[in-house]
């Protein structure tokens, strides 16, 4: 007769294997159009809030994209004044749409960050089971 502890461990192991099998084998659909966009927006009033001393972090230091799934960086300035956003100067109401086609790490000068740099890491499309597991793990 099995001990309750052993049964629990076996069940956990089975669940773990099932999760890993799903993560590695379940297909990831490629996306099209706007579904591939990773959008960051400067909300209206950001400049005024910054002028009043608020520390607003809109863009993360590091942006992670994946080819075929989410590989288009979109920046949008909804504020009433021009803003340096990511690598470039954007006018009020203007957007900037940058597609990536190669997996690599990209560095952009960005005055919005304390480091002066914005890093965009573009991963290859997760075509293998291990890559799919890693892709799903990064999304947790």
């Amino acid at each position: 007769m099995r001990s309750p502890l052993r049964s629990v461990l076996l069940a956990c192991g089975a669940v773990g294997i099932a999760v890993l099998a799903w993560a590695g084998l379940a297909p990831i659909e490629t996306r099209t159009g706007a579904d591939r966009e990773q959008l960051f927006e400067i909300p209206r009033g950001t400049w005024a809030r910054r002028m009043s001393g608020e520390d607003l972090g809109i863009l993360p230091d590091e942006i992670r994209l994946t080819l075929g799934i989410r590989d288009i960086l979109v920046l949008r300035n909804l504020d009433e004044v021009p803003q340096i956003f990511g690598p470039t100067l954007m006018m009020p109401g203007q957007s900037f749409r940058l597609p990536f086609e190669q997996a690599a790490e990209y560095q952009f000068a960005c005055t919005a960050h304390a480091s002066g740099q914005m890093r965009v890491i573009v991963y290859a499309y997760p075509a293998t089971p291990w890559a799919r597991i890693m892709w799903r793990a990064r999304r947790l």
Partner: protein, 193 residues
């Protein structure tokens, strides 16, 4: 109007809605929407006289910022642009590379001419006073920072280039590291407009 006519009209409407929408081909560079007019400047030209973007209306301008003592970013970008122009063939006559210095202390027109001609004799350099160049950089959101190393110095700077269309609008930003084929792809689209 009988039922048959109504059916025909509905079918025609459905066909129109379902028809693929002809959209402009996508650039590989980052695209500004809506595009704004490229900020004007008038700087000393490496070719003598002044370099003024207005004089290139009707051409596509590839605008870059750098300096002739740059050891990594600028040589790669300029070599890529030279290669792209060669690949464009005759169409390259309507594509003008303008390179604005971030190092006015060392980059005078003669130095820029010598440096740029090593890549492509059609490349034009722009230089001027420190304040004048700082104003241009501000208009374009370009970052440049001087780093002193012993008796010399280097300048870290934004590494991308801008693509300016025939109407003088700032259309796109090509990140550093993109190959000549990406430039050729986008220049062909912009030149066809």
């Amino acid at each position: 109007m009988n039922a048959r006519t109504v059916r025909c009209l509905l079918l025609m409407l459905a066909a129109i809605v379902a028809a693929p929408v002809a959209s402009a081909p996508a650039l590989k560079a980052g695209v500004f929407d809506p595009p704004r007019d490229a900020p004007r400047f008038s700087l000393q030209s490496s070719g003598g006289g002044k370099v003024d973007l207005r004089s290139y209306r009707g051409k596509v301008v590839i605008l870059g910022f750098g300096f002739t003592w740059c050891t990594d970013v600028c040589p790669v970008t300029l070599a890529t642009l030279a290669q792209a122009r060669r690949k464009l063939g005759a169409a390259a006559d309507d594509a003008q590379v303008v390179y604005v210095t971030v190092d006015p202390e060392r980059d005078d027109p003669a130095r820029m001419k010598e440096y740029l001609h090593a890549f492509d004799p059609t490349f034009i350099g722009g230089t001027g006073g420190a304040a004048e160049l700082a104003a241009v950089r501000k208009d374009y959101g370009i970052v440049a920072e001087k780093h002193v190393k012993g008796s010399s110095y280097s300048v870290s700077h934004s590494s991308y280039t801008y693509l300016i269309d025939r109407r003088g609008r700032l259309r796109a930003l090509m990140p550093y590291g993109r190959g000549a084929d990406d430039y050729v792809h986008d220049l062909r689209i912009l030149l066809a407009e």
